[in-house]
């Protein structure tokens, strides 16, 4: 334990309004802490810069999953354990439940929140590829009100995002329109559990009249932040899935990916395995009977 607990203040106002008021009072001074699975690791390592923390844990207004007619609304405070346990969500948007089941292991899933995962903004975050593939929006809140932003526009750089200093992420809106889509998610980590992704790919695609009508490819660890693979998508949009388009899409991925070498893996490996995952998905997609 390298951090000093006495050097940090932690408040737990217990409701959303009080937290927002606190944030508004002195924007940037308070750091939210939800499940703490990022911040407490930093604390133990003596790298927690935040001196004042405000707890989001146990705030019911943030920990929920609601199904509406056209969407699921997932509270930012929902844990990955909550998401795995939500049968309706798991059935309709299985990539979310799948990603949730890969976050560390059970004890971590019981604490780690989806909001924390997305706000933390690791390029390797496991929920991100699914969030990108499902074309989600994030709802942000402050005393000034709420606003919605496409998740694909949420991250602006390595561990940077569009949140204002007095804002929280309140919820994720996931549209319920992927029942006919082919869906794919694969994480490549150093082992089967308790693994940070070296690379991951989430994808949804709709093939109509023999051609790709809609496709979203969300990648982890192929760029400084979770991102869509727009060039590879463009190479497939409106096309038939053939050996040739697969080849083109994969080379677009190879060209647009900007992975790094670090102690977890190499850029070359990440890029090429990323392309292999795309190919695996597209081969499956190509086999899909045309409705």
């Amino acid at each position: 334990m390298r951090g000093n607990p006495e050097a940090h203040e932690l408040l737990a106002p217990g409701n959303l309004a009080a937290v927002l008021a606190l944030l508004a009072e002195s924007p940037g001074e308070w750091t939210p802490i939800a499940g703490g699975t990022e911040l407490m690791v930093a604390h133990a390592a003596g790298r927690l810069d935040a001196k004042k923390l405000v707890s989001l844990w146990g705030i019911a207004e943030m920990r929920f999953t609601r199904s509406e007619a056209d969407r699921f609304v997932i509270g930012a405070g929902a844990t990955f354990g909550d998401l795995r346990a939500h049968a309706e969500l798991a059935a309709e948007l299985p990539l979310i439940a799948k990603a949730a089941s890969w976050i560390g292991a059970i004890a971590n899933q019981n604490r780690a929140t989806i909001g924390g995962n997305l706000v933390n903004g690791s390029p390797a975050a496991d929920s991100s590829p699914a969030m990108l593939a499902y074309d989600t929006e994030v709802e942000l809140i402050s005393v000034r009100g709420t606003r919605r932003v496409a998740y694909s526009a949420f991250h602006t750089g390595y561990k940077r995002n569009v949140l204002a200093p007095d804002e929280l992420m309140l919820a994720i809106h996931a549209p319920r329109r992927f029942a006919k889509h082919r869906q794919y998610l694969r994480k490549v980590g150093p082992r089967r559990a308790m693994a940070i992704a070296k690379v991951a790919l989430g994808a949804t695609a709709l093939v109509e009249n023999g051609a790709v009508n809609e496709i979203r490819l969300g990648a982890a660890s192929l760029a400084p932040f979770p991102t869509r693979l727009h060039k590879a998508e463009a190479a497939l949009q409106g096309r038939q899935v053939t050996a040739e388009t697969i080849e083109t899409a994969c080379s677009e991925l190879l060209a647009e990916a900007r992975p790094i070498d670090d102690i977890r893996s190499t850029a070359e490996y990440r890029r090429h395995v990323g392309a292999n995952l795309l190919k695996e998905f597209l081969l499956e997609l190509g086999r899909e009977p045309v409705p």
Binding site: M1, P5, H8, T37, A107
Partner: protein, 168 residues
Amino acid sequence: MSADWPAIRFIVNGESRAVRVPAMKRLLDVLREDLRLTGTKEGCGEGECGSCSVRMNGELVNSCLVPVLQAEGAEIETVEGLSSNGALHPLQQAFLECGGAQCGICTPGMLMAATHLLARNPHPSLAEIREGLAGNLCRCTGFIRIFESVIAAAGSTRGHRGPADHAR
């Protein structure tokens, strides 16, 4: 100095407790230092090893990553609360007989993870056991006898040792 901190109250193994400690003190340290419940261990302090696993309101959590203020009002269960009146919990008995504990340092956390698993799923398959214990690292046993212990405790008859169940 300690009197300066507001009291934080919770229930540990059925008993109400109150501590006056900094709110960012880890639940792990509060259990071990303030309550002298040293059965819960620290192996990494980074959420990776599971030696510090306890149950908080019935959920398995790593106590090294819980600031104690977030445990306010919660019910905490630790390894010390497993046995009753000196009688081993069925999981403890199974670990003893099947060789599920060697050096013993992972054991308290492993027992809490296994308790949590069986509470959710009284007859887990081998794959479910593997998943349920994946956050608890054991460097001694290679896990095999831990799986057998859990199966024995669950009284599961689902053909463990059969090749089909062994294959993942």
